[in-house]
C-alpha cells in the first residue's frame, strides 16, 4: 500500500507545488517560482455522475451528468508535473443532465472540455 502521505487544503496548492515529492524546492529555467495560473498549461477532462434508471433491466436507460475537472501541467527543470485545479480554479461545475439511450451508448452526449470552456466563457 501507499506510504503515509500528508494531505493539504486546496487553498495551499499554490505553495505546495513549489516542492517536489522528495521535499526539494522545484527549480525552473528562469529561477522564478511556479505560477499555476500563469506558467502552466490548462487541461480539461470530463467525468460523470451516472444513474442507471432501472438496474433490473438489461437495456435500462442511463442518465449522466458531466463533471468537469481541470488540470495544470507545469514544467520544472526535472520535467513536467500535473496539478488538479478543479476546485482551485473556482469555476462552477458543468451539471447539464444528459440521458443515454441504453447499454449501446446511443445518444450519449459527451461534453468536451472545449464545449464546457465555451459555456463558461473561457477563450479557447
Amino acid at each position: 500500500m501507499a506510504p503515509p502521505c500528508p494531505s493539504f487544503p486546496v487553498r495551499h496548492l499554490a505553495a505546495a507545488v513549489q516542492t517536489s515529492e522528495d521535499g526539494k524546492v522545484r527549480k525552473t529555467e528562469n529561477g522564478r517560482r511556479i505560477d499555476l495560473a500563469g506558467d502552466c498549461e490548462l487541461f480539461g477532462l470530463v467525468q460523470y455522475e451516472c444513474i442507471v434508471a432501472r438496474p433490473e433491466l438489461g437495456d435500462s436507460p442511463v442518465q449522466c451528468w458531466p463533471v468537469q475537472r481541470w488540470f495544470r501541467r507545469c514544467q520544472d527543470k526535472k520535467g513536467s508535473f500535473t496539478a488538479e485545479t478543479t476546485v482551485w480554479e473556482g469555476r462552477s461545475l458543468a451539471v447539464t443532465p444528459t440521458e443515454t439511450g441504453g447499454p449501446q451508448g446511443q445518444g450519449v452526449h459527451m461534453t468536451t472540455p472545449a464545449q464546457v470552456a465555451a459555456k463558461n466563457n473561457i477563450s479557447s
Binding site: 486546496v10 495560473a37 498549461e41 460523470y48 463533471v67 500535473t82 470552456a117 473561457i122
Partner: protein
C-alpha cells in the same frame, strides 16, 4: 524402455534436408549422385523384339532417389509435444507482455464502458504504468481484493490531485488534496458516484498496473478505440 527406445531412435535419426542449399557453378555439369547404368549394372544382353528395335525401358528412372516424404508437423509424437509447447509459450508471451483481451462489467466506468458486455483490449506494453499519462484508462489489480479493475488515471508520481469528489459538497477553494507519492498513481472511475477507486483506497502502486486499455469491443457488433480524453484548453488568463 521398450516404448522410449523407438521414440529416441526416431528423434536422433538425421533428417533429410528438403531443399539443398549447395550451389552448382554454371560451367559445370552436375554429376549424377547415383552410378550410371554403364558402371553399375552388369553387362546383360538386350533383347531385340520382332521389329528389330529395342524395347522402351525405364531403367534410368528407376534408379533416381525416391522423392522426399511430404513435410508433416504431426509425424512424430515428440514433434507434436514440442510444437504444442512452442505454441503455448508464444501465446503466453503475447498475452502477458504485448496484448490481451478480457470482459469487463460494472457501472464504475459509465458512460465510457457499458455495465455489461464490453470486451477490453489491453496493451501490456504499458504494464507497471510505462508510458501512461493523465487521462489514460488502465487495467489494474485492485489492492483490496484479488480482482482486476479498470479506471482512469488522474495523477502520476509527484502530481497533485483532489482527494474528494468534485461537486459532492466541495465548493470552490474547499476540499483536500494530496501529492501522489513515488511509484504510485491516482485512479478514479468515470462514474464518480459508483466507483471504488483511489478516493477509497488511496494511491495505487504502479506495479499493480496491468496495462492500458486501448480499445473496447462488443463481439460482432462494435469496436472503438479508447483515447485519452484530456484536452488542452488555452489559458483563460490570456498568457
Amino acid at each position: 524402455m521398450g516404448f522410449i527406445t523407438p521414440v529416441l531412435r526416431g528423434f536422433l535419426r538425421p533428417t533429410r534436408p528438403r531443399f539443398s542449399t549447395k550451389s552448382i557453378p554454371l560451367h559445370q555439369t552436375p554429376q549424377p549422385t547415383t552410378p550410371s547404368l554403364s558402371t553399375s549394372l552388369p553387362n546383360k544382353t538386350t533383347k531385340i523384339n520382332s521389329h528389330g528395335t529395342e524395347p522402351h525401358t525405364n531403367h534410368g528412372d528407376s534408379h533416381e532417389p525416391p522423392p522426399p516424404p511430404p513435410p508433416s508437423w504431426f509425424g512424430h509424437p515428440f514433434r507434436v509435444i514440442l510444437t504444442t509447447l512452442k505454441f503455448v509459450a508464444f501465446t503466453h508471451l503475447l498475452w502477458e507482455y504485448v496484448i490481451s483481451m478480457a470482459p469487463a462489467s460494472g457501472p464504475s466506468m459509465l458512460p465510457t464502458f457499458e455495465v455489461l458486455g464490453e470486451w477490453l483490449l489491453v496493451s501490456k506494453l504499458h504494464r507497471f504504468g510505462r508510458g501512461v499519462t493523465v487521462g489514460d484508462v488502465v487495467a489494474y489489480n485492485i489492492p483490496i481484493n484479488d480482482e482486476v479493475g479498470v479506471k482512469r488515471v488522474l495523477g502520476l508520481p509527484g502530481d497533485y490531485v483532489l482527494m474528494d469528489t468534485p461537486g459532492d459538497g466541495v465548493g470552490p477553494g474547499e476540499g483536500n488534496m494530496i501529492q501522489v507519492p513515488k511509484g504510485h498513481c491516482w485512479i478514479v472511475g468515470d462514474n464518480l458516484v459508483a466507483s471504488r477507486d483511489s478516493r477509497y483506497f488511496g494511491p495505487v502502486p504502479l506495479a499493480l498496473i496491468r496495462g492500458k486499455v486501448i480499445a473496447t469491443m462488443r463481439p460482432f457488433s462494435e469496436f472503438r478505440w479508447i483515447t485519452n480524453t484530456s484536452q488542452k484548453v488555452s489559458n483563460p488568463s490570456g498568457d
